[in-house]
């Protein structure tokens, strides 16, 4: 635990000192995306990797966070911190609802249901004209950001904080008693219940936490783009990334999604700049299939295979 705290404060300090090293705004613009992916991947892994419930609707949680933030900003001009909390709360609530679905639905049916949730919510937002409906809503960023070189840098730092919190939460879940229970659920839910694991409670908890973290990742989205619009907020790409990155990084350990997100996120950013944004999505899809087929334990698994730990 101590080592982790030390490590995470190190990461934050590093994030804070980035502006001294990098003058180019674009670095932060791109870095923000990578951090956002870390949060999404880590959050997905809590329900998907640990408990084995494959969520295809990550975009919905992300967008609920984003739109909650936008609506509250428009209505009460809430500061970003509160927007994030509210976004996380709303998406957490949605997570709780999706958790209730696990009562009846498993495997592929649960996954399809999450897609259904995403599309129904997207249609709701399409028809919600207060936040711009289908045409979207431009959002002005605050012109001044105290202590930070620019608003992008500020958002970068905020997302770094969320990422550290997300990874910390995932690590706690994994290493505490909750983690073993979730793994038991993934392996065999019936046996888990009969071994005294309160499966419903754990699933609800995991779904809520996972949803809330995704919502937190989505909350600053509108400020980041200075614009929000349903198609991209609910984009299937969020779902693919959230799912692909833990699988590629390795689902068993909290560092897996982080590795996956950093690796893929960076590749994506580079590819977007140098080749095209289509190829970058394709890269994710292809890597996903390749890893699922050839290296089911992800990069972590490969690493362990080549450097077995001594016991």
């Amino acid at each position: 635990m101590k080592r982790f705290l030390l490590g995470s404060s190190g990461v934050l300090a590093l994030a804070a000192s980035m502006p001294l090293v990098f003058q180019n705004e674009y670095f932060f613009f791109a870095g923000y995306v990578v951090l956002q992916l870390i949060v999404l991947a880590t959050a997905w892994n809590i329900l998907g990797g640990y408990a084995g419930y494959v969520n295809f609707g990550s975009g919905a949680f992300f967008a609920v966070g984003a739109y909650t933030a936008v609506a509250l900003y428009k209505a009460f001009a809430l500061p970003l911190g509160l927007q994030i909390l509210a976004g996380a709360a709303a998406a957490g609530l949605l997570g709780f609802g999706v958790g209730m679905l696990t009562l009846r639905l498993r495997g592929i049916f649960f996954s399809i249901a999450t897609i259904a949730v995403a599309i129904v919510l997207e249609t709701v937002v399409l028809n919600w004209h207060y936040v711009g409906g289908a045409k979207g809503l431009p959002t002005l960023r605050p012109t001044e950001t105290p202590f930070f070189a620019s608003h992008t840098v500020y958002l970068f730092f905020v997302m770094a904080v969320i990422a550290v919190i997300a990874v910390g939460a995932a690590r706690y879940v994994e290493t505490s008693w909750i983690g073993r229970g979730l793994r038991a659920i993934r392996d065999n839910e019936g046996a888990a219940e009969c071994s005294g694991v309160p499966t419903l409670k754990l699933k609800l908890g995991a779904a809520t936490l996972s949803g809330a973290l995704m919502g937190a990742a989505g909350a600053p989205y509108a400020q980041y783009l200075s614009f929000i619009e349903p198609t991209s907020a609910f984009s299937l790409n969020h779902a693919v990334n959230a799912l692909a990155m833990p699988i590629i990084g390795g689902m068993g350990h909290w560092i897996g999604p982080v590795i996956g997100a950093v690796l893929l996120g960076t590749v994506q950013q580079v590819v977007t700049v140098t080749i095209s944004s289509e190829i970058n999505v394709l890269v994710v899809g292809v890597l996903l299939v390749v890893f699922v087929v050839a290296a089911p334990e992800g990069i972590l698994g490969l690493f362990r295979r080549f450097f077995p730990r001594k016991k």
Binding site: Y26, N127, K135, G136, P138, F227, E229, S232
Partner: protein, 410 residues
């Protein structure tokens, strides 16, 4: 010591020379695929022609132009990223907006924040709320929907229309235009018998056209994007809108694009739709004719819109405005250029333009034209006058409307 001084001087001279020779970078994103991709490619070609023309004359302020354009796939979410990259990585000097309202809206906050000049590109009312003082739109419709929807509804009123049906895409441009058209229709005392938004990228309009038909309207005002426009024209042809309809059309983007005109052919007959430029005698001028001749040669080679009436002249005009402003002020600074654009009349091949406070044409000019006598799918027939007869506004009018719609179809 001396040597070092000499070295420093040489370095300074070198870097000065480098600055002088460095090109002026002009950056933009342009929909080259997706809903607006067809029009976007044509517009891009016109801008490239302008850049080539200027560079052939030796550039601006002695510097060559470098043109950087990315494809935004008509996806609003990609646009802020592209413009951030244009500014921070590519370090462009001047910005042009992508063609279209929904892809322009997301960058308005960005340019306002960084206080940069942005040349608008056929978007509609994007600056109405943000009121950025360095925004200048090349589109001829001016602020608000009065100039746009007005002539259509005026003609409808003259025909004695009492009821109107409105169908609009759930997208920025269509919603803005529609809101305007509603206000005008209300002022004229028209009764709304159908008023629905349909989801973006809808492909099947049979149910909607049936519902419109059942409402028995006199006028049908449609605000749609290209693929939907084509689908709507098809559905109207298959299902009919009923004998009550006097006029149909108004704000359908896409019916100005040659590939869509070619694909629809005679199905277009009778539709009344807005335009920016049509080959009628009230609009022709030698500069545009000369440009279109050069353009169509290039367009055929690059397989983009061979007619190029709608966007290309106006995109070339963006270039002409930049050229005039930069040459006159000897500057590429946003503030200086914006001030010049505000106070000076701009001379372009699509006419002389003065901008109002929100950067729109102070004297709008939107012809509403009716498709007539189109036979078969030959694209060349659209080059003749009389195929798209301007029915309003009065200054541009080249013929009276034929109504009802069913009669105009034959």
């Amino acid at each position: 010591m001396k040597i070092r001084n000499l070295f420093a001087a040489a370095l300074a001279a070198l870097s000065f020379a480098a600055v002088a020779q460095q090109p002026i970078k002009i950056g933009m994103s342009m929909p080259q695929t997706g809903a607006l991709g067809g029009g976007g490619k044509a517009a891009l070609l016109a801008l490239q022609m302008w850049v080539e023309d200027v560079n052939a004359k030796g550039g601006l302020l002695g510097r060559k132009l470098q043109f950087i354009a990315y494809d935004d796939q008509t996806n609003p979410a990609l646009v802020p990223g592209i413009y951030t990259k244009l500014l921070d990585v590519d370090k462009v000097d001047l910005l042009i907006a992508p063609y279209g309202t929904n892809v322009t809206a997301p960058i308005m906050p960005l340019v306002k924040q960084r206080d940069l000049l942005l040349m608008g590109n056929f978007s509609f009312d994007v600056n109405a709320q943000i009121k950025h003082d360095k925004w200048f739109n090349n589109a001829p419709w001016g602020a608000g929907a009065l100039a746009w929807g007005g002539p259509f509804l005026d003609a409808g009123q003259k025909l004695g229309a009492k009821t109107i049906a409105i169908m609009a895409a759930d997208a920025e441009f269509a919603q803005n235009l529609c809101t305007g058209a509603r206000a005008i229709a209300k002022a004229k005392g028209l009764q709304f018998v159908y008023d629905q938004n349909y989801p973006p990228n809808s492909v099947d309009f049979s149910s909607i056209i049936r519902a419109v038909r059942a409402a028995k309207p006199d006028l049908v005002f449609i605000c749609s994007y290209p693929a939907e426009s084509a689908a709507i024209v098809r559905a109207v042809n298959e299902l009919g809108v009923g004998p009550t309809v006097q006029m149909i059309g108004g704000g359908m983007v896409g019916l100005q694009f040659a590939p869509i005109m070619e694909a629809l052919g005679p199905m277009l007959n009778g539709f009344v739709n807005y335009n920016s430029w049509v080959p009628e005698k009230t609009m022709a001028n030698p500069a545009v004719t000369e440009f279109l001749k050069r353009y169509s040669v290039r367009a055929k080679a690059e397989k983009v819109d061979p007619l190029g009436y709608y966007l290309p002249p106006f995109n070339y005009a963006i270039g002409q405005m930049l050229e005039q402003a930069v040459t006159a002020t000897k500057s590429i600074d946003s503030k200086v250029l914006a001030a010049y654009l505000h106070k000076t009349e701009m001379k372009t091949m699509v006419g002389n333009i003065r901008f109002d406070t929100v950067g729109e044409w102070s004297t709008p000019r939107v012809p509403q034209a009716q498709f007539r006598g189109i036979k078969g799918k030959d694209i060349e027939q659209f080059r003749e006058a009389g195929k798209q007869v301007i029915i309003g506004p009065a200054a541009l009018k080249t013929g009276d409307i034929i109504a009802p719609f069913d009669k105009a179809r034959n």
